[in-house]
């Protein structure tokens, strides 16, 4: 956030404007925006601190619009950035100044629903929740459920490998995407994976998911659907201490129970949610857990009782059990609205995303408290407790000089705690632009160089979403560890078989 990136120019360069003209001819003038006032809307994503005005915005309506746009960008050597719904929280969809932003929200057709094989194929702009809605009549659902599921796009989910509350049991986007059609940065269209499992050859799809738009643009996605479980039970438990809540989480896992979700909120987060959506969480709680179990009825019933007993043993002072879907929705409302809710109790806030080994929760939460106190800032904690994925919400007042920077520094200090604990700087929001400098703390230079070999294979000219994820881009053709030029792969080698 300190390096506020605000594009200075009012107009794109002549080179980019010339590209815009070619784009208008190729895909239709109405889909190509260059008027600065129209471009404003696309300056940032969900992380509003980073803003860059793009040179050109393309509102793609079909796959061929994307193919033609990417081809023309490649010919001109002008970078492009894909954008879904723009809800990303790490600046992944922040445009490149004087580059092209390809907006995919109009590609929102559901292309194929195949209940017999539990598959669905959709365009990238389809909203996450729309997939589950389309699957529901067949008793099926799309498992990954980010809290932003009413607005975020499947293309964005694939790019970020998004998670959600129920990922504890069901896994992340990567575990549910079977195939993708991708426009490579040279404009060539390839199909990674498919509908069936075990496609022969390298699992390029696995490498692509979570690549944050740096390897190409997804133009269709085939997902695997799960069956809607027979039974779902949800409880809301109040504790007088965060340590007791965290201990309960560990006890549940140690008992061999795998809930669909275990979410935690601390007192400040509860206060915010209360102010925003009147979720009526247990009064005076230092922490609440939302615990959901799903599966066959008998299994859920027995394990649910077990979980309740474990919570009691950790001094839970109030346990509420949702009696119907409406009560369940209310329990979830407090949790799912928590990010935005924090806006009710603070002029500004900053969402961090880090992961720690779950067993270290109590200790790390205490450390976060201490850091916050030292920085004289408040931190509300809302997180996926089951898998140790923290979302500290750092509250600050951007009218106070230096407060923004202090919030950012606190966020990064929390990430250091995560790294030191053997965790990760991001569990689901991605590295984007925001955290690329932190990649060098989590990984060695050799690790990062090796990852970028993939980048070099997909995008040797570095045109797809440049400046994201990696702190220092590598020149393709270099060998790791050997930072001298001149070792580009022999182009004839590929033909030798």
């Amino acid at each position: 956030m300190t390096e506020q990136l605000i594009a200075k120019q009012d107009q794109a360069s002549p080179r980019t404007l010339a590209l815009a003209e070619r784009l208008r001819t190729a895909i239709g003038a109405a889909k190509v925006l260059t008027d600065p006032s129209q471009l404003r809307t696309y300056e940032c994503d969900g992380l509003e601190a980073f803003r860059v005005r793009p040179g050109v915005v393309v509102l793609a309506e079909e796959r061929d619009d994307v193919v033609r746009t990417v081809k023309l960008c490649a010919e001109a050597g002008i970078p492009f950035v894909a954008r879904g719904s723009g809800t990303g929280l790490s600046g992944g969809a922040v445009p490149v100044a004087d580059g092209v932003l390809i907006v995919l929200t109009r590609l929102r057709r559901i292309l194929d629903v195949d209940p017999d094989n539990a598959r669905m194929t959709v365009e990238p702009g389809v909203i996450n929740l729309a997939v589950s809605r389309a699957a529901a009549p067949n008793g099926q659902a799309y498992a990954p459920d980010p809290s932003s599921q009413q607005v975020c796009s499947i293309g964005g989910n694939v790019a970020e490998n998004s998670g959600g509350a129920h990922c504890l049991k069901y896994g992340f986007t990567v575990n549910h995407v079977m195939g993708a059609e991708v426009v490579l940065p040279d404009g060539k269209v390839v199909h990674l994976g498919g509908s069936a499992p075990e496609h022969p050859g390298y699992d390029l799809l696995g490498a692509f998911v979570g690549s944050e738009g740096t390897l190409g643009v997804v133009t269709s996605v085939t997902v695997r659907l799960i069956k809607v479980p027979e039974a779902v039970q949800t409880m809301l438990v109040g504790f007088h201490s965060v340590a007791d809540a965290a201990g309960t989480v560990s006890d549940i896992i140690a008992a061999g129970i795998l809930p669909a979700a275990i979410e935690m909120m601390d007192a400040l987060a509860i206060e915010a949610a209360e102010a925003a959506v009147q979720c009526n969480y247990p009064a005076g709680a230092a922490a609440v857990l939302v615990i959901e179990l799903d599966g066959p009825g008998v299994e859920v019933a027995e394990q649910f009782d077990h979980v309740e007993t474990l919570a009691q043993a950790r001094n839970a002072f109030e346990t509420r059990i949702a009696q119907d879907d409406e009560e369940r929705a209310l329990m979830w409302r407090g949790r799912k609205s928590a990010f935005a809710a924090v806006g009710r109790i603070s002029p500004s806030y900053y969402v961090q995303d880090g992961v720690i080994p779950r067993t270290r929760l109590p200790e790390i939460l205490a450390d976060i408290d201490a850091l916050a106190e030292r920085a004289d800032l408040r931190v509300a904690n809302v997180f996926h407790a089951g898998d140790g994925n923290l979302h500290p919400l750092i509250l600050f007042d951007d009218a106070v000089p230096g407060a923004t920077q202090a919030a950012e520094e606190l966020g990064f200090a929390i990430l250091d705690l995560c790294i030191d604990a053997g965790g990760s700087i991001t569990g689901e929001h991605g590295v984007g632009i925001e955290k690329k400098s932190k990649m060098a703390s989590q990984f060695t230079a050799a690790d990062l160089d090796t990852m970028q070999l993939v980048r070099c294979a997909f995008d040797p000219d570095g045109l797809a979403n440049p400046g994201k994820v990696f702190p220092t881009p590598r020149l393709c053709g270099e060998r790791p560890g050997v930072r001298t030029a001149g070792t580009a792969p022999d182009p004839t080698l590929g033909e030798v078989f």
């Binding site: 209940p115 199909h191 499992p197 027995e302």
Partner: protein, 372 residues
Amino acid sequence: MDLAGVAPAETLVPSTTDEVADILRDTTGTLMAVGSGTKVGWAAPPASCDLMLRMTGLDRVVDHQPGDLVVVAEAGVRLSALQKQLAQHNQMLALDPPEDGATLGGIVGANASGPRRLRFGTVRDLLIGVTVVLADGTTARSGGKVVKNVAGYDLGKLYTGAHGSLGVVVSTTWRLHPLPPARGAVVVRVADAAQAGRFEALLSRSTLTPTAVELRWDGAAGELVVLFESIAASVDAQSDAAIALLGTGERVDTPPPWFGERPRGGIVLRLAYVPHALPDVLTALPDGSSGTASACTGVAYVSVPSDTDLAALRTTIAPHDGSAVVVEAPDELRDRIDHWGPVPDSFGLMKRVKDQFDPGRRLSPGRLLGGL
């Protein structure tokens, strides 16, 4: 050890990551890393092999955190040994490929799995971190020690099923599961392919949560095992519900001996297809075929006669997004059989990945799809 008919000029047995790195740095020839060698036949024979690395010397379980359900283990650790150690904490790595003595590195390289993939997925769903040594001796890690982690590209996916052609896997980090307290199965006779398909459909669309649905197929009829692993009450209730759903079946405490084993003899193929195509795939098999199918996942291992026209079989199952990969072939066929079948439209990209990771084509050359 003979590598699918190719004899390595030299064999080394490193016992640390640094030793592996030194070997790769100090040598220039072609090289193949092998664990216990149980799945050497799963890929094409190497174009050449100057040096074989036996990875069984890297056999330490480095770190097991029971509370976090995570284990770090070197590539040469045998799955069976790891399971024994984990079982003391009532945990397991939820992978069940049957190959006796298989090492973790080999399982990753070959992307081996077993029946319980239905519930727990495969290597790509369970491997959360990996360390490899690249062709030039660089040691590089991706992923980490926490289940949820999206920092950087997930290269574990790329090394899975790559048969060591992108780098030598030296260490692996896994997500674990609790050992289920109870298990039980329902065994059902299957009269023909159409009935196998009906059972698959009924189970796939029901809310039952079996950990495996395995079909043994003798070419015309077979036997279906629906495995439940959970708390006792759930195993009980679900077993009864499965019998009611299928209209037939018998409860057993343990699955029959064929469960989870791979077929042997002739040409053994790993078939993959969309799950509901099961009956079509079964009827596409030539006379004299037999094998097992993980019925609700779309994967089967079948033995087909040695004179099978693989190209024709591949064409027949192609409409089901089908593929057929050779995992075992008679010696006399080994060098001329098409192991992998046709290349996809992403093959050019796969070649570029190989060129980036291994520009000198040192690592398991020729083992993969399209001669990669």
